[in-house]
């Protein structure tokens, strides 16, 4: 059986973290989201995988290659323009001759999720799960095990069982998708909605892990749950006088200098230089080539590749993208905040700061809880920033 994984979209609601990578390549626990999906599929013995790629496809292709690193064979189908999931799925039409599974590449799942779906023997099935925020997804109405209807992002409460975007289909689905796309429907759920309940699709309840990030502040929560590290694995150099408790992973060529206190789960990538005297609290992931100067405290954050953080910084529930340079005395506390994304305001209970790639932050800058700083911005010394800043903003 083949698996088709949809990985062509940008994930605009996660900007600025998708300005130079698709949502599926955002690193959670130092691994791209898509890697969790590929591993979950592979763990169920499905080794023929077609990735539908589009937005920034080279980021995906240069990471996954032909799949041999993951014990699978990956081929690629290209969706040139991002015209929705139904259109993306049609890109693999020529390569599918029998029943297959289709998986959204931008949710973290474990092997159990796929195994639940495979246990179902019929040719059409949809994997569903409970959600606390059904309004962001396709809400599913089920009668005696069959999907009766699916309502995408309902305005009013119609139930809390949602579609995970994981399906088992027969090749016949492509005719429906094509008709739907011709009729101007962009999403797979929109197409399915118009064919309900004619298409007898079984609803399969997932017992595994299914996690999604819709907005940037969700990433930190995803990072917390994604950590399933057991024990300490350290291939870097740990100087004496470093305290590490709980699962702490340190990659090759990284150096943890004396006096650091690290409480896991924490993952530190390759070629980092941390400390002396840096404290890192759970659940934090730190990418490759990161430099953190003395007397900095980091809590529950995601620091991506080649970030440099000066001394005396305090960072909580933050997401800091590749290549940011942050000077001394940086303060980024977390707390309740109102955050704006694409003209909508959201009340977030525990929001940290979110900083886009290649942003430079001068000494003694304070970012209020829930601040979003766009990519390639510059924030001058002593500035106090709140709200959402566009890419390439300059704050003096």
């Amino acid at each position: 059986m083949k698996a088709v994984i949809l990985a062509a979209g940008e994930g605009t609601r996660l900007r600025p973290f998708t300005v130079s990578r698709p949502k599926v390549m955002i690193p959670i626990g130092n691994r791209p989201i898509l890697e969790y999906v590929v591993r979950a599929v592979a763990a169920n013995g499905i080794t023929d995988i077609i990735l539908v790629v589009g937005y920034m496809k080279e980021r995906i292709m240069s990471f996954f290659g032909n799949g041999s690193r993951f014990g699978v064979r990956i081929s690629y189908a290209i969706q040139e323009k991002q015209l929705g999931t139904a259109h993306a799925a049609l890109a693999v039409r020529d390569q599918i001759k029998e029943d297959f599974i289709m998986v959204a590449g931008d949710n973290i799942i474990d092997a159990q999720v796929i195994s639940d779906l495979l246990k179902h023997k019929g040719s059409m099935a949809m994997l569903v799960t409970d959600s606390e925020m059904p309004s962001k997804y396709g809400v599913v109405q089920i009668e005696s095990g069959k999907v009766m209807d699916i309502i995408e992002k309902p305005d009013k409460k119609v139930g809390n069982i949602i579609n995970t975007g994981i399906y088992r289909f027969s090749p016949g689905i492509f005719d429906h998708l094509e008709k739907g796309v011709m009729a101007g429907k962009s999403g797979i759920t929109h197409v399915l909605h118009s064919c309900m309940p004619r298409l007898r699709i079984e609803a399969v309840r997932s017992t595994g892990r299914w996690m999604d990030a819709v907005y940037p502040w969700d990433l930190v929560r995803l990072n917390e749950y994604a950590f399933s590290l057991s024990g300490q694995q350290t291939s870097g150099a740990i100087e004496s006088g470093v305290t590490m408790r709980g699962p702490v992973y340190v990659g090759a060529g990284s150096r943890i200098r004396a006096g650091c206190y690290i409480e896991g789960p924490v993952s530190i990538g390759e070629g980092c230089e941390i400390g002396p005297y840096v404290t890192i609290f759970p659940t934090t992931s730190i990418g490759n080539g990161v430099h953190i100067a003395p007397f900095t405290a980091i809590n529950n954050s995601m620091i991506m590749n080649n970030v440099s953080i000066g001394s005396h910084a305090h960072i909580s529930r933050a997401v800091i993208d590749d290549g940011c340079r942050i000077m001394t005395g940086f303060s980024a506390p977390s707390g309740p905040a109102q955050v704006r994304v694409e003209d909508d305001f959201f009340k977030v209970e525990k929001a940290g700061s979110m900083v886009g790639e290649f942003t430079q932050i001068g000494p003694k800058v304070v970012l209020s809880a829930g601040t979003i700083v766009g990519a390639k911005s510059r924030v001058g010394a002593g500035a106090k920033v709140s709200g959402s800043l566009e890419d390439r903003s300059i704050v003096v």
């Binding site: 032909n66 690193r69 060529g253 080649n306 440099s308």
Partner: protein, 581 residues
């Protein structure tokens, strides 16, 4: 042998096979190219065997370090890909138990462990063996007097090919395609037993796993390109990772002075050929900037026949393959002249590493496209690293400046990624060049060699006549060649002390109606105003700007060649490693 040949792209420096021949185990292994092994092979009649090509990571390339390895009693043989992390402790333990080791490799512990676990069931013994191992592996084992091959995998590829009354095992589908298109992928933690009759796969708990074979419908070459249209493009996109790995291997060596521990030479001479020579040119600027040491350059093919001066400089030789004939000869000549020598190469244990006093490895990984891309980038990195080492060692750079320079280098993989993120702008810009008969690349200061390399890349793969010039030299001749059909690619990095001069040169060119493609820092409107089109790189300290600029020019050449339908990965008349003089 055909299978091993197909896996050549993974890179290797030695190869070997083990065959069960008339019930007895025969081993043959040779350092060097596959052909060396091939010529030495007798006609085998045996039907069961394993083979391996090695890319040295632990232990230098040599006959004795090549795989397969055999047990003390000569009855078991194994091959292994991956890294055994706890091999030192395992080796000590096994040696104390009386096992004799014949190589410097981590792999050899596997065969001795296997021997100690073996009691009649080969696969079972292998399953026990891998429990002792920390690290990554794909292992295959054969036993005297048996038709069975046992194998195990963790984080290294392993795949079974299913034939009729014959079965195969390989690390990549490519090796199997001539024999079968029915394959079975093996998962992490699984072990298997393979005989001509069938295959049995077991999970970690020893329970047999049933899995449907998959059919392969792709060609051998596609297999390796992972979705990219050409190796060159794939390798351009591997740039950030190549830089990361090179730094990982070298930063400590540079910071702790393990490379060039003594700075006792009066001057430096850089010797190389082709693209490596352009890396050397950048190296000259870097060496003089960071270390203030007088630095000269010579083409390897000239240096070896040159008269030679009285004083003995440090001679740095740069060769990607480590096998370039002229550079090897130059290394010997340098030693004969009593110079200290240091080689920069991408291939562990290549010939050059035995001809010099010290080696600094770039870790770009194997490169298949004939045009150097990611390996050139890592050579640039090596130049900066050496310059910083010499500068700190001779007191020109303070501790603070050294750290700040290294920290800039750490950022370079991001710089490259950032250029790649906008590669489609470069694809668009290639329209300015693809119809041209002649094309000029101009730059100043440290970007003069960058433009030489840009021109070389363009001629290599697109067959357009391209020349790189120092922008200040235009008015001494080349300006006469300019007209509206000759595009000029010009780089000007804001912040560089030659920036203003560069703008003046660009105006000169534009005044001759030549269309100018500018390469500059994002947001530079002074430059973009003078140019017909722009390709942008992220803001960068001028001294390190060759890194992102090079990537932009590599991508430009790629797209020009693609628009002209050229054979990008194998340009006519050229070979990857030039082993003739």
């Amino acid at each position: 042998m055909e299978g091993l040949k197909r896996l050549e792209y993974r890179g290797y420096d030695s190869a070997g096979v083990a065959m069960v021949e008339d019930g007895r185990l025969t081993i043959l292994k040779k350092q060097g190219e596959l052909d060396v092994l091939h010529r030495a092979l007798p006609k085998f009649t045996g039907r069961t065997g394993i083979g391996h090509t090695r890319w040295a990571t632990c232990g230098r390339p040599s006959d004795s370090n090549a795989h397969p390895f055999i047990s003390c009693d000569g009855k078991l043989a194994i091959v292994h890909n991956g890294i055994i992390e706890n091999y030192t402790s395992l080796r000590e333990r096994l040696e104390s138990e009386g096992h004799r080791f014949t190589s410097e490799t981590d792999t050899e512990v596997v065969v001795h462990l296997l021997e100690s676990h073996y009691s009649g069931d080969l696969r079972q013994a292998l399953a026990e063996t891998v429990k002792d191992i920390e690290g990554t592996y794909a292992i295959a084992a054969v036993l005297e007097g048996s038709q069975e091959i046992a194998a195990a995998r963790k984080e290294n590829p392993l795949v079974v090919g299913l034939g009729v009354n014959e079965n195969f095992l390989a690390s990549d589908v490519t090796a199997l395609l001539s024999y079968t298109n029915k394959v079975l992928y093996i998962m992490d933690g699984e072990t298997l037993s393979l005989t001509p009759k069938g295959v049995a796969v077991y999970d970690q708990e020893g329970i047999e796993v049933k899995r449907e074979p998959s059919a392969v419908t792709w060609s051998a070459e596609d297999a390796q390109k992972g979705g990219f249209e050409h190796f060159m493009l794939k390798e351009i996109f591997e740039g950030p990772n190549a830089i990361h790995n090179t730094l990982l291997g070298a930063l400590d060596l540079i910071e702790n002075g393990e490379v060039l521990p003594r700075i006792d030479f009066p001057s430096v001479k850089l010797v190389a050929c082709g693209s490596s020579f352009h890396a050397a040119m950048v190296g000259k600027y870097a060496m003089e900037e960071f270390a203030g040491v007088p630095t000269t350059l010579e083409l390897a093919s000239e240096y070896r026949y040159s008269p030679g001066a009285r004083e003995a400089p440090l001679v740095i030789l740069i060769t990607q393959s480590g096998e370039t004939a002229d550079t090897l000869a130059a290394a010997r000549e340098a030693r004969r002249r009593g110079c200290r020598t240091l080689a920069v190469t991408n291939i562990v244990g290549s010939t050059i590493t035995r001809e010099v006093d010290e080696v600094l490895y770039t870790r770009a990984g194997p490169e298949i496209g004939v045009a150097a891309t990611k390996t050139f980038l890592t050579q640039l990195l090596a130049m900066y690293l050496l310059a910083i080492r010499v500068g700190y060692g001779n007191g020109t750079l303070s501790h603070d400046s050294m750290r700040s320079a290294l920290s800039s280098l750490r950022q370079s993989s991001n710089m490259v990624q950032s250029v790649l993120n906008h590669i489609h702008d470069i694809e668009e810009a290639s329209r300015m060049v693809d119809k041209a008969v002649h094309c000029f690349f101009i730059g100043r200061n440290i970007n003069y060699p960058t433009m030489m390399e840009g021109a070389l890349k363009l001629k290599e793969i697109s067959y357009i006549h391209a020349e790189g010039f120092a922008a200040g030299e235009l008015k001494h001749g080349p300006l006469a060649l300019l007209d509206s059909s000759t595009p000029v690619i010009a780089v000007a990095i804001k912040g560089d002390h030659t920036y203003e001069k560069m703008l003046a040169n660009i105006s000169e060119v534009a005044a001759r109606d030549s269309p100018v493609l500018g390469v500059g820092v994002e947001g530079d409107t002074d430059l973009s105003r003078l140019c017909e089109r722009m390709v942008y790189v992220p803001p960068v300290k001028p001294v390190f700007s060759p890194i992102p600029v090079t990537v932009a020019l590599q991508a430009l050449s790629y797209y020009v060649a693609k628009r002209r339908n050229c054979s990008i990965d194998k340009p006519k008349n050229l070979a990857k490693s030039v082993t003739v003089e």
